[in-house]
Amino acid sequence: MTARTSDGPNGLDRPNGTRTRTWRAARAGALAAGAAVRLALLAGCGERAAGTVTVRDAWARPAAAGATGAVYLTLVNGTARPVAVVGAASRAARAAELHESMERGSGAAAMVHMHAVPRVEVAAGDSLVLRPGGRHLMLVGLAQPLVPGARVPVALVTAAGDSIRVEAVVRGF
């Protein structure tokens, strides 16, 4: 799986006839716009961040202490090699996992599911976008309430053993 799929295949038909798609794929914005943003980000990295993996626009929704929260972000792989994200960590929660929301079925019977994403490979020069209705970093058992303006430390762990740290800003709803 490459990071390009992070934009979500819309309306992917499965052999058994059920329909599976990243929830909100339809609303997630034009792929072209996403690509433009990616290019801008890469350009913006310029000389300073060339050859590094950077995380941009990390944010979280408000949530109560003990509850489950979500962090959204964009990871840009500015290196010449693929980067595999294999885990997450946060001292703000009991557990942190990369998850994905999916819609299965159609019509009135459609259901929303969440499943853990054990590994995501981000191709060289590509990015991984975590956003509402698709992939997100799930924080389970929050130690503190997430209140607007607060900063939540999270880290993405790569297959190479690197920890990419970032502080997500809690936005209002």
């Binding site: 509850a67 489950t68 557990a95 996992e97 459609a110 509402p132 209705g133 709803f173």
Partner: protein
């Protein structure tokens, strides 16, 4: 009508029936009148409209307030008996992504409605009553908007509501570090101010579209002279 039995293509047959039987010469005029009627009608335009409108399935559950248990919520009392429309969504509070996103969208719906917002109830029903007490759900929805109504209850009671609405849910990923997640319906429902189930919406439906349909439902109620 059972939501599970919704016919997505209900409108075409409705118009077809109206035209059938008209004299050939009058058919065009008839169709035009039907079209005009449709323009001014209360039929929701953005969701999947449920035709013909029928009383919404039963939804009666305990409700909690900051002061503690506050009796029972009854959908017909909250809509038909008080001339208010409602949105109804089945989710759970440990849902970190889709449920908060939907409730954040509802907050936008409410803002878009302006003064009309006072005539719409926003109802969140947990499908995870083992973890979600009435108080937990109340606090959860209050994070988004103090007027949102959060409902929970004993499992058997929640099961009856889900059965009446034809909406399923089931646990997944039990035993994971993060605890289980719950698969829940991917649509929410609109009930008009006469207590009738009128439409269902994909959870990611733009707030402006939902607000537009709610205004339509509220206008129809006013036109019918309902109090």
């Amino acid at each position: 009508m059972h939501p599970a039995a919704v016919n997505v293509n209900h409108r075409a047959p409705t118009i077809g029936r109206a035209v059938t039987g008209a004299l050939p010469g009058a058919a065009l005029l008839g169709a035009a009148l039907v079209a005009l009627a449709a323009c001014g009608s209360s039929a929701p335009r953005h969701g999947v409209a449920l035709e013909p409108p029928e009383a919404a399935p039963a939804l009666a559950l305990p409700v909690a307030t900051a002061a503690g248990p506050a009796g029972a919520f009854d959908l017909q009392r909250a809509t038909r008996d008080s001339a208010r429309a409602a949105l109804v969504f089945f989710g759970y509070t440990h849902c970190p992504d889709v449920c908060p996103t939907t409730l954040a969208d509802w907050k936008q719906v409410r803002a878009t409605l302006g003064a009309d917002a006072a005539r719409v109830r926003f109802v969140f029903v947990t499908v995870d009553p083992e973890r979600d007490s009435a108080a937990v759900v109340r606090r959860y929805v209050a994070q988004f908007d103090s007027t949102f109504i959060g409902l929970a209850g004993p499992r058997a009671q929640v099961d009856r509501v889900q059965a009446a609405w034809g909406v399923g849910s089931y646990r997944e990923g039990e035993g994971a570090a993060g605890g289980y997640t719950v698969a829940h319906p991917a649509r929410f429902f609109a009930v008009d101010a006469a207590g009738r189930l009128r439409a269902s919406y994909a959870l990611a439906t733009p707030a402006a579209d939902v607000a537009d349909d709610l205004r339509r439902l509220l206008r129809a109620r006013a036109a019918e002279g309902g109090a």
